[in-house]
Symmetry: C2
Subunit: 409 residues, 2 copies
């Protein structure tokens, strides 16, 4: 139970006392989908998030969508029309990115343990490979030879620093991600020897960060490191991927990121880059930040149980669809996502209740003793901040319940 509040949720206004997505009241949307549970993402919110970000970013910064956050094909297709590029994390995601119509020159592929088959796919498609390991170089060179098409590569660098206050740290110290910064000069020499089409660096040190000053600090360090490493490059840098790391507020007490200072800071970095890395495109690669707040998860109350004085709303949804909201995906301490009752969101008749799913495990908990509008079977529960790491990050087959639906509204 928490007394601190969630950051206010925006973009899902009440229509006749009922929450709506894209102007459609959620009970009507549920009927349109034909089932609960479902995920709904609002395309107008995707667009306004990108627009708002573009306003604070220097015009010359490229914005990429990291589709690992939500690989739903319709959503990737929509995002492809809004952003400058897509980042994929597997051969499977590459297929969706290409189907979405993104030009291969604006697709990049990062991830440790890429299979030979996946590297060959990347070369054949003509996309940029963010090389995570020296092992990938000869494989890419061989694929280039076979296909008669030079592999386009950037080196993912494991910097000596990490992104402070990140939800997840991916740089600094020994890591499976990227090539240790101190090894990069030797690896660049090898890149030259193998005749690979070198394009730049990918320096990314964490994710889900809500402190703008930490993000600015990491970006400054990344640029400085890139400038230093570029002196060893076989050809001038054409791109520098600064990663992302922009977080969204999930839990009580968390505050929305202020992007204005990040934009101002990137303006100064961009000026510096014009001198130090002339011709290099600066890329921001964002996943969760672009889509996370535009989506909701909706499930239906099947039962309202009172056990020894506590209220349990038992729903048809749960951790098999939304592992993150259940607190079972990397969280050390379980905390509540913002949750309410769709058709009673305006009601002041509230009670403390827990929202649980149909699985035979106490882990299946979507809200732990939250103050919610008093609900009845048939009511719809909504979990906000659910546009990223939802369906695709959840154990859909657990206990063989029906699959969740996904819609873009």
């Amino acid at each position: 139970m928490s007394t601190t509040r969630h950051a206010p949720v925006e973009g899902f206004p009440l229509v006749d006392g009922e929450l709506s997505v894209g102007g459609i009241p959620l009970r009507r949307l549920a009927a349109r989908v034909g089932q609960t549970p479902f995920y709904a993402v609002d395309r107008s919110l995707l667009r306004s998030r990108v627009d708002a970000l573009r306003k604070v970013l220097p015009r010359e910064i490229s914005l990429h969508y990291a589709m690992k956050a939500n690989p739903m094909p319709a959503l990737v297709g929509f995002m492809a029309g809004l952003v400058d590029g897509l980042d994929v994390a597997s051969g499977g995601e590459l297929g969706v990115a290409l189907d979405a119509g993104m030009a291969p020159r604006n697709i990049s592929f990062a991830g440790p343990g890429k299979q030979d088959r996946e590297l060959e796919q990347a070369v054949a498609a003509g996309i940029l490979v963010n090389v995570e390991s020296e092992r990938e170089l000869p494989v890419l060179a061989a694929a280039s030879q076979r296909l008669g098409q030079p592999a386009r590569i950037a080196l993912r660098v494991n910097p000596g620093f990490e992104l402070k206050a990140s939800g997840m740290k991916m740089g600094g110290g020994p890591k499976q991600f990227g090539i240790d910064a101190e090894r990069v000069p030797q690896v660049l020499a090898e890149v030259g020897r193998l005749g690979l089409a070198f394009e730049g660096f990918h320096i990314f040190s964490g994710s889900q960060n809500l402190r703008q000053e930490s993000i600015c600090d990491a970006q400054s360090k990344a640029l400085a490191l890139a400038i230093e490493l570029a002196t060893h490059a076989p050809t001038p840098l054409r791109s520098l991927n600064l990663g992302g790391g922009f977080g969204i507020p999930y839990f009580p007490g968390e505050v929305r990121l202020d992007t204005a200072p990040i934009g101002a800071h990137l303006q100064s970095l961009s000026e510096a880059a014009k001198t130090s890395l002339p011709g290099a495109e600066l890329v921001l690669e964002l996943g969760r930040y672009l889509v996370g707040e535009a989506g909701v998860y909706v499930c239906r109350v099947v039962d309202r149980k009172v056990s020894r004085g506590e209220v349990f709303l038992v729903t048809d949804g749960g951790l098999h669809h939304h592992l993150s909201a259940s607190g079972n995906f990397g969280q050390v301490i379980r905390k509540n996502y913002p949750v309410t009752i769709v058709n009673r969101a305006g009601s002041d008749r509230t009670e403390t209740a827990s929202v649980v799913g149909p699985l035979c495990t106490p882990l299946d908990l979507l809200a732990d003793r939250m103050v919610l509008p008093a609900a009845e079977p048939g009511d719809l529960v909504v979990v906000f901040q659910s546009g990223a790491y939802g369906a695709s990050a959840s154990p859909a087959r657990f206990l063989s319940h029906p699959a969740v639906a996904e819609v873009l509204v």
Copy 2:
């Protein structure tokens, strides 16, 4: 990093220096499966586990398999020939249980939030419904009427006690599971009024317990509670499901459960039940304990990276197939499952290494700085204790990597 040791793994002998499953060296099995990663479960180990348990249990105790632990159809089919009944947790699992050939009279269905549709399936199939909530009663009565077949029911009771030292607590205090013990007399009266075919109680208070004395204690309390509640029943008890809760050792320092004292204790409970609950069948319902130690997860080393002095074995498998081994399924503190290198298990050339997967997240960790045989790309990594809560409990679609294969050997 832990200095305490894992409980010794049994049943996967070395053949020419290489681990085997069901007599087949794992590299040959990988070739037979046609891909890595895969899960392999050894049917002879399933059989010997059931046989060993039968030896210590009183003959009159019925043994059920809770298929939520591993719903692979071939495995459920094999188990159906070994045990006295199957427990299902959803309409989806019910279909697999019936396909497996288990007689409906020996199938039971537990789980909070059962859908009306699922309750109707259960009545139509003639299986036993473990009622978790008063809400289910009128739904079952209506289905009985429609189908002309009385619903067979047991009441799942939320006892006033909990299973001490359980991995997961599912009874005691306010819970979404079962009907609070103190409400049961009223609910039994309602069962009689509705003319449902009452058969007994299901009293289950936790899982993954490695202390035999806690399990015995919970079984004693369950029997005592059942005897007390039976005085309110419309008809004599025909069955009492004591649940399971038997754990297996996953982590360093954990010790295998000693079932002999549990068997002896059940002998005395069974004697007592003959007097107090004449005609009632006592049922043990086990999932993980029956299948968990019979299965392994196998993946291939794609890359061996050294980052700042630490060794990372990057594999084609990871948390998308085996969420539990990655420590992201309910564990508060991540610990290592027993892991080794298939084709070097006998080697004394060891090193400290971490085994990671191909996903772009530091959560994707199958072994954290373990002492392992020194491995190279192409080698196979095996994760033991993987027969339960593996493929079906993992986010298979995360980052759109290929699906894991499953074989019964």
